[in-house]
Amino acid sequence: MKTCLVVDDSKVIRKVARHILETLQFEVREAGDGREALDSCLASAPDVILLDWNMPVMSGMDFLRALKDSGLSQKPKVVFCTTENGMAYIRAAIEAGADEYVMKPFDRETLESKLQIVGVA
C-alpha cells in the first residue's frame, strides 16, 4: 500500500482528500502545516505528498525548499494542490521542485489522473 501525506491547514480539505485517497487504496497521513509535514517526512518518507500553498508556520514553497535540503534519500513525489490557479503560481511550484499541480476544487478522477502521472497510482 502506498502512503500519501496530505498537508493542508484546512481540516475539511484534509478530510475530503483522505476520503478520495482511501478509495484509491492509499494509506493517508495528515499534517496541518509545513513544519509538521517535514517532521512527518523525516520520521518516515511517504510515496507522495499532496501539498497546499498557503499555510501558517511554513508555507508550501518553504516546505519544498526544506524538503530539498533535508537530505532524504528517497524523495517523495510532490503534488501541489491549491486554490492559486494562475500560470505564474504553477510555474513557480514546478521550478521549486513540485512534480505535479492540482487546482482546487478537484474531484476523484482528477486527483487519480495526477497521481498516475507522477507514477504512484
Partner: protein
C-alpha cells in the same frame, strides 16, 4: 396541450420519437434502461425553448420543422465525455507506430484521423506527442484530421477552450505550461498547438471518409452504442480511410472481432487492428450500404 400543472412523466411515444431522432442522425442507440438519460440531458434544451415537458418538445419537433431544434436535441443527447491523454498507454503506442512507419519510409508525411474527436482533447494530445517524439515524416509533423458530428463540440475544439476541470484531467502539468494559457476556470490551447490539427464536421454514418489514406485512425468510444449493422458499415468506412497495413485504434473494451473482415488484430501493437489488404475491399464507400431507421416524418 399542457397547462400549469405538475409535469407528468414523458410518454413512451415522446421518448421513442426523440430516441429515433438521435439514432437516425447519429447511429447512437439509447437502450431502454437508459432512457432516463434523455430526460436529464434535455433539461437545458427544454429551458432554452421554454417548454415544460418532453411531450411538448416532441410536439415541437414534429410541428416545427426548423432544423436547429432537432440539431440542439441531438447535440444535447450525444455523450461527449473525453479527456487529455485518455488511456495514455494507447496514445503512446500509436506514437510508437508512427515512429516505426517513419523509419520504414522517412520521405512520407504521416496522416492520422481522430474520428469522433469531441472537444479536441484526443487530437491535441496526439499533436503534443508527435511534437515531443519529433515525428517528422517527409520533414513535416503528421497531418492530424479530427472530426465529429457535433458542431458545438467542434467550435470548442477549434477555439481550444477548456475549463479548469477539463484542463486538469490527464494533462501533465509540464505539458499544460508549454501548450496552454489561462487561469482560474478558463484555459486556452495555444494557437501553435491548435493549428496542428484540422477540425472538420463529419458524420461517420452518412459521410464518406476524409480524402486520402491515413496511417492511423482512432475511433475511440464512439461506436459503443451503434447497432451491429451500422458498426459493420462504419468499419468499412474506416477501412477505406486506411492504407493497407494502417492501424485502427478503438476504445478500451471495443473490438472489431466478429464484425468485419477488413481488419485483423495487430501482432506488433496489442489492441490495435491492422487494415487487411483485401482485394474485395471497397476503395471508397460510394454509398452507405446500410439504411438508417426509417424517418418518422420530422427528419
Amino acid at each position: 396541450m399542457m397547462h400549469a400543472r405538475p409535469a407528468p412523466p414523458a410518454s413512451a411515444g415522446a421518448m421513442n420519437l426523440i430516441a429515433s431522432l438521435l439514432e437516425q442522425r447519429t447511429g447512437q442507440q439509447i437502450a431502454a434502461n437508459r432512457t432516463w438519460r434523455i430526460e436529464t440531458a434535455l433539461k437545458p434544451v427544454l429551458r432554452e425553448l421554454q417548454l415544460d415537458t418532453l411531450d411538448q418538445l416532441a410536439t415541437r419537433l414534429v410541428t416545427d420543422q426548423k432544423a436547429d431544434i432537432a440539431e440542439k436535441v441531438v447535440d444535447a443527447l450525444l455523450n461527449q465525455e473525453t479527456s487529455f491523454f485518455r488511456d495514455n498507454g494507447v496514445l503512446d503506442m500509436a506514437v510508437s507506430a508512427l515512429t516505426a512507419f517513419q523509419a520504414e519510409n522517412p520521405q512520407r508525411r504521416l496522416r492520422v484521423w481522430s474520428a469522433g474527436c469531441s472537444t479536441g482533447q484526443e487530437p491535441l494530445s496526439l499533436a503534443i506527442l508527435a511534437h515531443e517524439h519529433d515525428i517528422k515524416g517527409g520533414g513535416m509533423l503528421p497531418e492530424i484530421v479530427a472530426t465529429d458530428i457535433s458542431p458545438a463540440a467542434l467550435d470548442r475544439a477549434r477555439a481550444g477552450l477548456y475549463s479548469q476541470f477539463e484542463i486538469q484531467r490527464g494533462l501533465p502539468i509540464r505539458r499544460m505550461i508549454d501548450w496552454f494559457d489561462g487561469e482560474g476556470n478558463e484555459w486556452t490551447a495555444k494557437a501553435d498547438l491548435v493549428r496542428r490539427v484540422r477540425f472538420r464536421k463529419h458524420n461517420l454514418v452518412s459521410d464518406p471518409p476524409p480524402p486520402g489514406k491515413f496511417d492511423i485512425v482512432l475511433c475511440r468510444n464512439v461506436l459503443l452504442y451503434f447497432s451491429l449493422a451500422l458498426r459493420r458499415q462504419v468499419f468499412e468506412t474506416l477501412a477505406a480511410a486506411l492504407r493497407p497495413g494502417g492501424l485502427l485504434v478503438l476504445g478500451a473494451g471495443e473490438t472489431v472481432i466478429g464484425q468485419t473482415d477488413a481488419f485483423a488484430p495487430s501482432d506488433r501493437y496489442r489492441g490495435f487492428y491492422q487494415r487487411l489488404d483485401r482485394n474485395a475491399a471497397p476503395q471508397a464507400p460510394a454509398e452507405p450500404t446500410h439504411r438508417l431507421p426509417k424517418a418518422t416524418g420530422i427528419l
